[in-house]
């Protein structure tokens, strides 16, 4: 197992967001964690790169306990993990090429010429060739996501974490991003973890899907198993049925 999360708890004051979440992701697979907004999906990803410390529970990447890593080891681990942020988080004072090359400057032994070559290669992989000199403000939402993906893959990571990669995109652009996620797995052999509330996207890209519900993994299975599942909460989420998801007696307490 390449990513192992066990019994993860995280609370902010009295609000318990994660309540014993567990998950394992195999090398080379793409897993999806689905759940409604605010359920703690993005928080989970942040634990994997040490941006968050768990209250209790273990977070292992390649057998290394992320919360216990020192600054130097954490930096080394982060070079093996690419992180695609929900709103791309591109550095807005830099060009797209500078954004993509940013992580490579921290890799020992990389010359400026080699970085330039790799930046062009990554921009080509996400179909943004020729756009390196633009600034983030000059890109559309979908292009920003692709630029964020190019930045994440630049250092040839072993893992890619996608935080809501298709949120706010039209169906066609969503499909393009999904194809890119699959391409990362098939062509680069990257292990992926996608958090999303977009079930269409999850079915398209994931080998296994986990529903995060009330801070725990409610259900884990292949897309076929998810489709066939009889669990009301899972069905409610997949079908977008608040009555099933929240239960008839709690339907009135939730919702948008």
């Amino acid at each position: 197992m390449s990513i192992q999360i066990a019994g993860l708890h995280k609370a902010f004051g009295p609000k318990e967001v994660l309540r014993g979440f567990s998950l394992e992701v195999r090398v080379g697979a793409t897993a999806a964690i689905v759940g409604p907004s605010g359920s703690g999906k993005s928080l989970l990803l942040k634990h994997l790169v040490g941006l968050m410390q768990p209250d209790t529970g273990s977070v292992l990447v390649d057998g290394e306990s992320v919360p216990d890593l020192g600054r130097r080891d954490l930096a080394r681990l982060r070079r093996r993990i690419g992180y695609v942020f929900q709103f791309a988080a591109l550095f807005d004072s830099m060009t797209i090429a500078e954004n993509v090359g940013m992580g490579l400057k921290r890799v020992p032994g990389w010359s400026a010429g080699r970085i330039r070559g790799r930046v062009d290669e990554c921009l080509g992989l996400v179909d943004l060739g020729g756009m390196g000199e633009r600034y983030p403000s000059q890109l559309s939402g979908g292009q920003k996501k692709r630029a964020g993906l190019a930045r994440a893959i630049a250092a040839s990571p072993k893992y890619l974490l996608y935080d809501e990669p298709t949120t706010g995109l039209d169906p066609v652009t969503t499909s393009v991003i999904d194809q890119l996620i699959l391409r990362m797995r098939d062509e680069l052999g990257v292990t992926g973890l996608v958090v999303t509330h977009d079930m269409t996207s999850a079915f398209r890209v994931a080998d296994r899907i986990t529903l995060l519900h009330e801070g725990k993994a409610r259900f884990t299975g292949t897309p076929a198993e998810v489709r066939a599942a009889r669990d009301d909460v899972l069905r409610g989420f997949v079908e977008g049925d608040p009555g099933l998801y929240y239960g008839p007696h709690r339907g009135g307490d939730h919702g948008p």
Binding site: K46, V49, G50, L51, R71, A75, R76, R78, R79, I81, G82, Y83, F85, Q86, F87, A89, L90, F91, D92, M102, G103, R106, R151
Partner: protein, 260 residues
């Protein structure tokens, strides 16, 4: 019934805990920033752009304020001294006050607004748009990349800007004395040299170094603490200006009490 007693006590308690928390977080930022000095490969390339943004770009506003301060000082000194003390004391008063107080403090307060708010808003925006997190995931230490170059730039450039402002303020006071007060240059210079001590310049430099560290440090602190979108960015910028200005005035009194 005890609400009117408990509520203020609870509020005071929350305020105290909040203030202690801020002091603790500021200490953590300070210690982390000192540790991040070990990574010159990260902060080094950022230093020159910050020297330009924090120092060079602040020169026009600092000189504008110094110019009018010099004019007003000269006119007010003449108004106060006329008929009591020889008029060449205008030069002494302008020189002494520009060096000891108005040059460093007015420039410091102005830059608390211009530089402090700018740093806070920039880092705050980076925080709420996850750019700071992105830096971390790319194996950059945000303190080394964002905080260290800004604080070093503040420490280096504030004294330079203050020395320029002092010079321009004295020159504008001199010019005003010649044009509006019927004084001659020898008279003004006589006054200027009368009370001048080289230590006054060092005093201004020491004060402005501390102001530079405070303005940039407070800006970085509130910027990196920013939460909750645009409103949070605005709040951080305001807090930076208010707190940095208060600390500048406290430091001003501290230096006067300890160094003079």
């Amino acid at each position: 019934m005890l609400d009117f007693v408990i509520r203020p006590l609870a509020s005071a308690g929350r305020g105290t805990v909040g203030a202690l928390g801020s002091v603790g977080r500021a200490w953590i930022l300070f210690a982390g920033t000192a540790g991040a000095l070990r990574h010159p490969s990260i902060w080094g390339p950022q230093l020159v752009p910050q020297l330009a943004r924090i120092g060079v770009a602040s020169v026009p506003i600092a000189l504008f304020i110094a110019t009018f301060t010099g004019i007003v000082m000269s006119l007010q000194a003449s108004y106060t001294l006329t008929g009591t003390i020889p008029l060449y004391f205008v030069g002494a008063l302008v020189g002494k006050t520009m060096m000891l107080e108005l040059g460093p403090v007015l420039t410091g307060l102005t830059l608390a607004g211009r530089v402090g708010a700018n740093i806070s808003a920039e880092l705050g925006t980076m925080r709420v748009t996850e750019q700071v997190d992105a830096l971390e995931t790319l194996a950059y230490d945000p303190l080394a990349y964002l905080v260290v170059p800004r604080i070093i730039a503040g420490i280096v450039m504030f004294p330079i800007v203050v020395l320029l402002a002092m010079t321009v303020g004295i020159f504008s006071g001199w010019f005003t004395a010649l044009q509006l007060l019927d004084m001659s240059s020898p008279e003004f210079i006589k006054g200027l040299r009368l009370l001048f001590e080289p230590w006054d310049v060092w005093f201004a430099v020491i004060k402005s170094i501390s102001f530079g560290a405070i303005v940039t440090g407070v800006g970085c602190f509130y910027g990196l603490q920013t939460e909750r979108g645009a409103e949070g960015v605005g709040r951080s910028a305001t807090q930076t200006v208010v707190i940095a200005s208060m600390i500048i005035l406290c430091l001003d009194a501290f230096w006067a009490a300890t160094l003079l």
